[in-house]
C-alpha cells in the first residue's frame, strides 16, 4: 500500500516544482535579455526529480548537485534570492558571484555544491558519506548525476568504493535520455540504467521521473535502506524540454518527441492529482502560482539591486587561512 502523504507535503512538492519552473523560465528570459553571463542549463520538465528526492531529506543529509540542478537546490530549501543573485554573478549570491549557477552550493542546508564536471560529484559523495559513517551520524548523502555520467570512470570507481565500504549514499541518476545531443541508445547498450547497480553488488531501482509522489515515497524507503545496507542506485527516467544549454539548436530530436514528453509534465500531473483527490481547489493552486511569481519577482529585485563583487576580494577564497 502507498504511504499516505500529508497535505503539507503535497503543498511543498507542488509549490517547489512551480517555483523551480518559474525560476528557470525567468532565468531563460533574463538570459535572452543579456542579463546573464555564461550559459544556463535548464531542468524544465525534470522538476519532480530533485524536488521529490530532496523534500524527503533533513538538513543534515548532504546532496551533491549537477549542473542542471535548480530543482535539487529548491528541493533542499536553498534561498531563491541568493540563487538568483548567483545567477547574475552578484556579491550576495551563494558563491559571491564566483561560481554561477553551475557551482551553486549552500553548506548551511547540506548542499555540497553543484558540479560542472559530468560525474564530478560522485567521488565527493563517497567522501561525505564516509564522514557520516565515521562520525556515526544517522544522515545520508544523496548524489545526483545524469545518464551521461554513468559512462564516466568516476561513476564506476565510486559505486564500487561505496559498495565495498557500505557507505550511506543514495546515487540518483536523472536519466533524461540525452547526454548533450547523444541519445543513450548510442552511448550504452542497455536502456535501464539501474541494471548497472548489479555489477557493484548493490540495489538498483528505476522509477518514473515525472511522478513526484512515487519519487518522494521511494526516497523515504531508500534513505532507510542506505542507512542500514549501504549504497543504492535510483534511476529517475525523465526528459528535459529545453536544449542542453543556451547554444543548443536541438537538431538531434523531433518536436513531436518533445511535445509527447510535455504531455507528461510532472507539474500538471501532480496538479491534476491534487484536484482529483480534493486536496486543493483550483483557486488554491492559482494562489500558489501567484505566490511563486511574487517570490521570483522579489528574488530578481534582490539580485538586480545587489552589488557586483570587487576585484579587491579576488584572492580571499583561493586559500583558506
Amino acid at each position: 500500500m502507498n504511504m499516505i502523504l500529508s497535505k503539507t507535503i503535497h503543498k511543498e512538492l507542488y509549490y517547489k516544482m512551480i517555483l523551480c519552473r518559474k525560476f528557470e523560465e525567468n532565468a531563460a528570459k533574463m538570459f535572452n535579455l543579456g542579463k546573464i553571463h555564461g550559459t544556463t542549463h535548464l531542468c524544465i520538465g525534470e522538476e519532480a526529480t530533485g524536488i521529490g528526492v530532496c523534500s524527503v531529506l533533513a538538513k543534515e543529509d548532504y546532496i551533491l548537485q549537477t549542473h542542471r540542478g535548480h530543482n535539487q537546490s529548491i528541493g533542499k530549501n536553498m534561498s531563491i534570492k541568493r540563487m538568483m543573485a548567483e545567477f547574475l554573478g552578484k556579491a550576495t549570491g551563494y558563491c559571491k558571484g564566483m561560481g554561477g549557477s553551475m557551482h551553486i552550493a549552500d553548506f548551511s542546508v547540506g548542499s555540497l555544491g553543484a558540479n560542472g564536471i559530468v560525474g564530478g560529484g560522485i567521488p565527493i559523495a563517497t567522501g561525505a558519506a564516509f564522514t557520516q559513517r565515521y562520525t556515526k551520524s544517522d544522515s545520508i548523502t544523496v548524489c545526483f548525476f545524469g545518464d551521461g555520467a554513468t559512462n564516466e570512470g568516476a561513476f564506476h570507481e565510486s559505486l564500487n568504493l561505496a559498495s565495498v565500504w557500505k557507505l550511506p549514499v543514495l546515487f540518483v541518476c536523472t536519466n533524461n535520455l540525452y547526454g548533450m545531443s547523444t541519445h543513450i541508445s548510442k552511448s550504452m547498450n542497455i536502456s535501464d540504467i539501474s541494471l548497472r547497480a548489479t555489477s557493484y553488488g548493490i540495489k538498483g531501482i528505476s522509477l518514473d521521473g515525472n511522478d513526484v509522489l512515487s519519487i518522494y515515497r521511494e526516497t523515504v524507503k531508500a534513505k532507510e535502506y542506505v542507512l542500514k545496507n549501504g549504497p543504492m542506485l535510483m534511476v529517475l527516467n525523465t526528459y528535459r524540454w529545453t536544449g542542453h544549454s543556451k547554444s543548443d539548436t536541438q537538431e538531434y530530436r523531433t518536436k513531436k518527441e518533445v511535445d509527447e514528453w510535455k504531455e507528461k509534465c510532472p507539474i500538471k500531473r501532480h496538479g491534476e492529482y491534487l484536484l482529483s483527490h480534493m486536496l486543493f481547489s483550483k483557486e488554491d493552486l492559482e494562489l500558489m502560482h501567484i505566490q511563486a511569481e511574487q517570490e521570483i519577482r522579489d528574488a530578481v529585485t534582490f539580485a538586480e539591486d545587489s552589488p557586483e563583487p570587487c576585484i579587491e576580494n579576488i584572492l580571499d577564497d583561493v586559500y583558506a587561512e
Binding site: 561560481g99 552550493a105 561525505a128 564522514t131 565515521y134 568516476a154
Partner: protein, 328 residues
C-alpha cells in the same frame, strides 16, 4: 640527537598527527598490512586500526575525490598515491574539485587534505613510475605543493601540511626514503611552516636553488667546490607553492649568480618559475651572469640504468654548470 630515515620521518609525522587528531584518516592502496608501496606506513595499521588506515580499491580518482568529500565535511584525510605518475588518474578530483571548491563556492568549503606521493627516477621504474610531475600541480591555484629533501624537513613539513586547511600535494622522493637525517626525539614536537625555503648551505659566490633529491647532490658538489675556493650557497625551496620568493631573491642579490637545478624535465618545469622570480625582481641589477637552469632532459625516463642516470642533473653536470657561471 637521533637519526632516522626519511620514510620513518614521514611515518612519524602521520602517526603523531593521527594520535593528536581523531579526525585524521588515511586512504591508500596497500597501506595497511603491506605498509604501502614503499613501506612508509608499516605498523600504522596495528596502532590505528582499519577504521583509520584504510586500504582502498585501485581507484585513484575515487579515493582522491573521496578524500576531498571527507575533507569538505569535517575530516582531515591523508591519501597516498603509490607513485606520483598515478596522479594522472586523480587529476579531475584534485584539480577541478579539491583545488577549486573553496573559491567556486564563495568560501563555504575548506578542503584540508594531504595527497602524499613519491616522485622521481633512479629506481629502474621506467617511463610510468619515475616522473617528476610537480609543475603540473604547481600550476593550479588552490593547491599547495611541498617536496622535502631531508628527514627533518619531511617530518616538520608533513605535520604542517596535515594541519593546513587547504589541499596539499606532498611529493616525497623515492631515492631519499632510505637516507638518514637528524630528527628531534619523539615528543620534541616541531613544525616547519609551509612557504619557507631553507638555506641548506651558506655561501657567497654562487646560489644553487633546488629541491627534492637534487638537494643532497648539489650540497655534495658545493662541498667539492669549497676546496677550490668557490663558496656556493644552496637554497632548498621545500615548498614550491607558496614560493618563498624573498629567500630566493635575497640569496641572488648576495651572490649575483644563480643556478636552478631540478630533476623534472626542463620545458614547462618549475625551474622556469624560479628563474623568472629571480630575474623579475629587485635582484636583477645584482646579477652578474644569466640565471642558468639545469634540469632533466625533455625525454621520458628510460629503463636502462646508465641512461636513466644520465638524463637528470648529475654531479658532473652540476659542476660544469657551476664552472660556466663562475667563468662568465
Amino acid at each position: 640527537m637521533r637519526e632516522i630515515t626519511y620514510a620513518q620521518a614521514v611515518r612519524e609525522a602521520m602517526s603523531e598527527e593521527m594520535r593528536r587528531n581523531p579526525n585524521i584518516v588515511f586512504f591508500g592502496e596497500d597501506i595497511g598490512v603491506y605498509g604501502g608501496g614503499f613501506g612508509v606506513s608499516l605498523g600504522m595499521l596495528d596502532e590505528f586500526g582499519e577504521d583509520r588506515i584504510i586500504d582502498t580499491p585501485i581507484s585513484e580518482l575515487a579515493i582522491t575525490g573521496c578524500a576531498a568529500g571527507a575533507a569538505m565535511t569535517g575530516l582531515r584525510p591523508i591519501v597516498e598515491i603509490m607513485f606520483s605518475d598515478f596522479i594522472t588518474l586523480a587529476m579531475e578530483p584534485l584539480v577541478n574539485q579539491a583545488a577549486k571548491n573553496r573559491f567556486q563556492f564563495g568560501g563555504q568549503a575548506s578542503v584540508p587534505m594531504v595527497l602524499r606521493t613519491p616522485g622521481g627516477s633512479g629506481t629502474g621504474g621506467a617511463e610510468q613510475h619515475s616522473q617528476s610531475l610537480e609543475a603540473w600541480v604547481c600550476h593550479v591555484p588552490g593547491l599547495k605543493v611541498v617536496i622535502p629533501s631531508t628527514a627533518y624537513d619531511a617530518k616538520g613539513l608533513l605535520k604542517a601540511a596535515i594541519r593546513d586547511n587547504n589541499p596539499v600535494v606532498f611529493i616525497e622522493q623515492k631515492l631519499l626514503y632510505c637516507t638518514k637525517g637528524v630528527v628531534p626525539e619523539v615528543g620534541d614536537e616541531y613544525l616547519i611552516p609551509l612557504g619557507k625555503a631553507d638555506v641548506k648551505r651558506i655561501g657567497k659566490d654562487i646560489t644553487i636553488i633546488t629541491y627534492g633529491r637534487m638537494v643532497p647532490r648539489c650540497l655534495k658538489v658545493a662541498g667539492q667546490f669549497s676546496k677550490q675556493g668557490i663558496d656556493i650557497e644552496v637554497v632548498d625551496v621545500r615548498t614550491l607553492v607558496p614560493l618563498d620568493k624573498t629567500c630566493l631573491i635575497e640569496s641572488a642579490k648576495k651572490t649575483g649568480k644563480v643556478l636552478v637545478v631540478h630533476e623534472a624535465c626542463q620545458t614547462g618545469g618549475y625551474g622556469g618559475e624560479i628563474a623568472s622570480t629571480v630575474v623579475d625582481s629587485e635582484a636583477f641589477p645584482y646579477l652578474t651572469a644569466p640565471v642558468k637552469r639545469l634540469c632533466g632532459m625533455d625525454v621520458p625516463i628510460p629503463y636502462n640504468r646508465y641512461l636513466e642516470a644520465q638524463i637528470v642533473p648529475t654531479e658532473d653536470k652540476i659542476a660544469e654548470a657551476v664552472m660556466q657561471l663562475q667563468n662568465y
